[in-house]
Symmetry: C2
Subunit: 243 residues, 2 copies
Amino acid sequence: MSQAAEPAFAYRPLYVQVKDSLVRRLIDGAWLPGQLIPSEMELAREIGVSQGTIRKALDAMTAENLLVRRQGRGTYVAEPEESRILFQFFRLVGDDGQHSFPTSRILARSTVPASAVERERLQLAPASRVVRIERVRNLGGRPLIVETISLPHERFSALEAMAEIPNNVYRLYSQNWGVTIGRAVERLKAIAATSADAAELGCMAGAPLLEIGRVAYDLEGSPVELRVSRCLTDRIHYASELR
Amino acid sequence: MSQAAEPAFAYRPLYVQVKDSLVRRLIDGAWLPGQLIPSEMELAREIGVSQGTIRKALDAMTAENLLVRRQGRGTYVAEPEESRILFQFFRLVGDDGQHSFPTSRILARSTVPASAVERERLQLAPASRVVRIERVRNLGGRPLIVETISLPHERFSALEAMAEIPNNVYRLYSQNWGVTIGRAVERLKAIAATSADAAELGCMAGAPLLEIGRVAYDLEGSPVELRVSRCLTDRIHYASELR
DNA sequence: CAGTGGTCTAGACCACGCC
DNA sequence: GCGTGGTCTAGACCACTGG
């Protein structure tokens, strides 16, 4: 690992360089989800830096939920597992504090030219196509969410031939295409239910719904998925913590 | 600083003990917002631990936005300053990406018995009273938010006699009562505008509004303020990042 | 018991801000 | 040039896990 003097504008701490090289192993699939990675001492020897520098890189990756460290056992690559996704990417919580994973029923699946919004938020070229999945999600036995997921057709064309779309799509992305979602950005608005929304959710047309527009990014920072969820928030809410 | 062996259930790393003792200085007002605190070496000598341990404590506090570190200059106590609050506690952003601080117009101020919701979320005793402030907030020149702030009367009774309520109330809490907001939790729902909301915001009654219920906590973890904001989200949205 | 990550220390050097 | 925080190293010991 180069430690030579470099121009100030290109200066990156050694531990950041180490971290990037380790993230690269995740991107390239050299380290797979659930796998035990080498110990700090082994990595230090292999890369040629001190154990402390390796530690700082691993700590940073752990803070980004890419790794899981277990004292006495070792460091593991994080998995897109149900309970972790629930905690990390699903912010809808019952007003009574109940926090549970929704079930899904697929309404439709289609491959269509990307809309202007899809092109903009997924950074797609003008003539691109997307795979769209529409589903209704139940929480506590009641349909509370109607959701449209848009994926670049180019990257996910195999979706068209797939018999069944599982509930946990992030695990699907990971298992079928080696795509790990590292980060997502959400935009929340209050909107009025359309009559289609109302029919699925069993509410009045025009009822206020919470609309969550999410763009999910892979480890390289490229947008992977656009998801628009419309939620009935009579008995649930979106929880956000500010620090 | 005790380093003696203690029962496993009470084990706290040294740097956490150091951090807690430094946070105590903030709570007690020994270190005031904006102040330059002693250097790492000085603190290390004073407390009797190594510089590395001090660093880990200071880094943790910096990560919680309690301190600001500036290379070459020193470490400062964070201030409830406009631009920082904007970034940390205000998540409403224009759909065009514009991010600006709202102005406020006070509608009413009253001291009343706490409602059930106020008692629950502010952890108040049954017969407690609260000071309520109602205001309308403008963003980009248009009234977009109606807001009710509830504060425990016991702690903030001086508010009743105050001639003017400033726009940045967190700075007010800091300057007048030495209360620093360290953390806040928000619950978002979509609701229908009441006719009172509609009159203030210039929308139709029944229009969908984003309701943000926030509880803000001080450095000791006690709830300080309950704030309910109802927002028109035609041209703005609430931004949330998931990592 | 051996091996892992977690904490703590001590000292060196680097990048930055200010005089 | 000096003092600050930021990085890097090396080594010691502690706490946890599993055989």
